[in-house]
Amino acid sequence: MFSNLRRLGTAGLALVGTVYAGSAMAEVKMAFVEALSGGAASAGLLSQKTVQFFVDRINAAGGLNGEKILLSSYDNKTSAQETLIALKKAIDDGNRYVFQGNGSAFAYAILDAVNKNNERNPGKEVVFLNFAAVDPPLTNEKCSFWHFRFDADVDMKMAALTEAVKGDKNVKKIYLLNQDYSFGRSVAAAAEKMLKEKRPDIQIVGNEFVPLQKVQDFSPYVAKIKASGANGVITGNWGNDMLLLIKAGKDAGYNGVWYTYYAGGLGAPPAIGEAGIGKVKQVSEWHKDVTPELDPAIAAFEKRFPGQENEYGYWRIKTMMEMFAEAAKKAKSNDPIKVAGALEGLTMSTALGPVEMRADNHQLLQPLFVSTMSNKVKHPLQGTKIGFITDRKVDAKATAVPTTCKMQRPS
C-alpha cells in the first residue's frame, strides 16, 4: 500500500544520482516537458518513465556517438503558458532536444516557440520529438523541419478505424461524439469525410461535442444516441469522458459498437470492465496482445517499474528512441540539425513491421492495429481479466494520408 511512498523516495535519490554522475563528461541534453502534477499527471508520469527507460538503455549501450544522454524533466502543469515557461527554462539549461506528447494544445505552443528559437538563434537549434499529440495540422499546414511526430495522427487512425466500420455490414447508422476542442473537432471532421467515401450508405445520425472533462453524467447523451437509432458510435474521447460514456452506455443497455481512439488508455479497462467485451474497439500502434510474447524491452520496463499505473502503454516511444539513436549514428553527430536531417526519410524494422519517417512532413508511418476488447487474452490489462485482440492490421505504407505540408528546410 505504501510502496508508492518508498518508490517516490528511490526515484528522488536516483534523480540526484543521475545529475551528479552526468555532469562530468560531454553529454546530449534532452528535455521532457509534460504534465507531471495535477489531474492529468498519470499519462505524463508514465511517458516520463518510458522515455527515461529507453534513455538508460541507450546510455548502457554506450550512448550516442560516445556521449551519454542526460534527460531532465519539466512540469508543464497542464497549461499552455506553463509549457512555454518550462520550455524556456529547458532551452536555457542547454537542452537541444525536447520531448512532448500529451495534449495537442501544448504541442502547438512548443512548436511555435521552437520555430522562433531556431530562427533567432542559429547554431543553437532545438528539435521537438512528439510522441502523442495527434492533431493533423502539426504535420500539415503547421509542419516544421524541427518537429517529428511518432504517433499516427487523427486522420491516419480514422482511416484505419473507418476500414473496420466498412467491414462491418451491420452498422447502418453512426453517431459521432467528441470533445469540444481542436482534437475532437478533427476526429469528427475526419469521420464524416471518410465515412462518406468508404460507406456512402451509412447515415451519420448525430455529431455531438461535449466540453472537455466537464460532463459527470453521460446518461442523457446515451439516451440521445439510442433515440437516434445509431448502432455504432465513433469517439475520440479520452480520460473521464471516455470511461463515463461507456459506463453510461452499459447502464442503459446500449448494444452498439464503440469505435474509439483511447479505450486502452490508462484506467480505461478497469472502468469499462466486462461491459466492453466484443463491443469496444480501438485503433492504436500497439496493444499488449499484439504479439503472443511480450517484447523483452517491455518486460524489462514492467520489471523495473511495477504496479498497475506503470503498465506499458507507449510502444511508439520505443520506436522513437530507437530511431533517434539510429539517426544520430547515421549522422555521426549529435548536432540537432544533422540528426534531424538523418531522421528525415529514415526507415527501420521493428518487431511489428517496417516503419518510416516521412521526409515530406515528418510523420512516422508505422503499422496500426484495430482491436476489440476481449476476455480471451494472454496479457490482461491493469488488474482486470480483459484486454484487446487484433481485428486487423494496417501496414505502415498503407496508413499514409496526403499532406499539405510545404517543408521549409534550413539552408
Partner: protein
C-alpha cells in the same frame, strides 16, 4: 418524441437525486452551521475509496456501513483538532483557506495510497442488474438504490432538524451561540456533532457515488463545485431548497442535452438570417446541447444577481 421526453425526465430525476445525495452533508455543515467546508468533496472521495478498500476484504454491504462511520470520525477530527483553532468564526476567509488546503492534502494522500489511476468500478452483484426496461432503455438497480438512499437522507435530515430537540439546538447555535450556551448546551460539541454527521453523509454518498462517478484522485475536484452550486441555489438554511435545486439542475441539464437548436435556428424562425460574416456568429451557432454542463454555473451566477439568498434561503449567501 414521448420516448425522449420520458427517458430524459427519468435521467434528470436520477441525476437530481444523486446531486442531492452529494450535497446533503454540505447542506448540514454549510447551510445549517454556516461553515464553508471546501474539503467536503474530499471527505466524499475518501468515502468512495474507503468503501472500495473495505469492500475488497469484507464485502460491499459491510463497507457501506463502515464508510460513513469512518468518514464521520474524520469529520469530527477535522472540526475538533483543526477548524476549532482557526481564528475568527465571524469571517469565512480563514476556514476557506484551511479547508482548501485540507482538500489538497486529502487528494495527495489518496494519490500516495491508491495511485493516480481510477480504481476498478465495483457495483455489488446484488445491485448489478437492470431493474426495468422502458422504450428499450434499461435502468440499473443501483440507480434505484441510490435514489432510495437520497430520499432517505432527505427525510431523516428533515425530521432531525425540524422535529427533534437537537435540530432546534443546531439551528439556534448558528444564529445565537451565546444564548444556546447560556441555556446550558455545549456549543463546541454541537459543532463537532454536526460536522461528524455531515461528513458521515458525505461518506455514505461517496460509498454509493463511486458507482456512477469514477473513483480517481480527481473526483473531489470534479464534484466539489457542483455541490456548492446546489447549496447556494437552494438557499442557505433550507433543506427543501437544496432538494429543489438538485432536481432543477438535474432535469434542466438533462433536457438541455436533447435540444439540438442554437440561437441561429431561433433567428431563422423569426425570419432573420445570420451568415458567417455576422458579428458573434460563433456564439449564435452554439447548440443548447453544448451548453448543458455549464447550466448549473449559469444558474448560480443568475441566482446571486437576482436573488442572493437562493430559492428558499433564510439568509444571504
Amino acid at each position: 418524441m414521448i420516448e425522449v421526453f420520458v427517458s430524459s425526465l427519468l435521467n434528470g430525476v436520477v441525476y437530481g437525486l444523486l446531486l442531492f445525495m452529494l450535497s446533503s452533508g454540505l447542506t448540514l455543515i454549510f447551510s445549517m452551521m454556516g461553515v464553508l467546508n471546501i474539503a467536503h468533496a474530499g471527505v466524499f472521495m475518501l468515502g468512495a475509496y474507503i468503501t472500495y478498500q473495505i469492500g475488497k476484504y469484507a464485502g460491499f454491504w459491510v463497507a457501506l456501513m463502515l464508510a460513513p462511520v469512518l468518514c464521520g470520525l474524520i469529520g469530527a477530527a477535522i472540526e475538533r483538532y483543526g477548524l476549532r483553532f482557526v481564528p475568527n468564526r465571524k469571517s469565512h476567509v480563514p476556514e476557506i483557506l484551511f479547508t482548501f488546503g485540507l482538500l489538497y492534502l486529502i487528494e495527495e494522500l489518496v494519490v500516495m495510497i491508491w495511485g493516480r489511476n481510477p480504481i476498478p468500478a465495483t457495483v455489488p452483484e446484488a445491485l448489478d442488474f437492470p431493474l426495468f426496461t422502458l422504450f428499450g432503455t434499461s435502468y440499473p438497480a443501483y440507480k434505484a438504490f441510490m435514489m432510495a438512499v437520497s430520499i432517505g437522507m432527505f427525510v431523516s435530515l428533515y425530521v432531525a432538524l425540524k422535529r427533534t430537540r437537537i435540530g432546534l439546538v443546531i439551528q439556534a447555535a448558528l444564529t445565537h451561540p451565546q444564548m444556546v450556551a447560556a441555556l446550558g448546551h455545549n456549543v463546541p460539541s454541537v459543532y463537532v456533532l454536526v460536522f461528524a454527521l455531515g461528513s458521515a453523509l458525505a461518506g455514505l454518498a461517496g460509498a454509493i457515488g463511486g458507482f456512477t462517478w469514477l473513483t480517481a484522485p480527481t473526483l473531489a475536484f470534479t464534484v466539489g463545485p457542483i455541490v456548492f452550486v446546489i447549496v447556494i441555489v437552494g438557499g442557505l438554511g433550507s433543506l427543501a431548497g437544496a432538494l429543489i435545486a438538485s432536481m432543477l439542475i438535474g432535469i434542466l441539464q438533462t433536457f438541455a442535452v436533447v435540444v439540438d437548436y442554437s440561437l441561429r435556428d431561433l433567428f431563422a424562425a423569426l425570419g432573420v438570417t445570420v451568415s458567417a460574416s455576422s458579428p458573434l456568429y460563433e456564439l449564435y451557432s452554439i447548440k443548447v446541447a453544448q451548453t448543458a454542463p455549464v447550466i448549473p454555473y449559469l444558474l448560480l451566477v443568475l441566482m446571486l444577481i437576482v436573488r442572493p439568498r437562493g430559492l428558499l434561503g433564510t439568509r444571504d449567501a
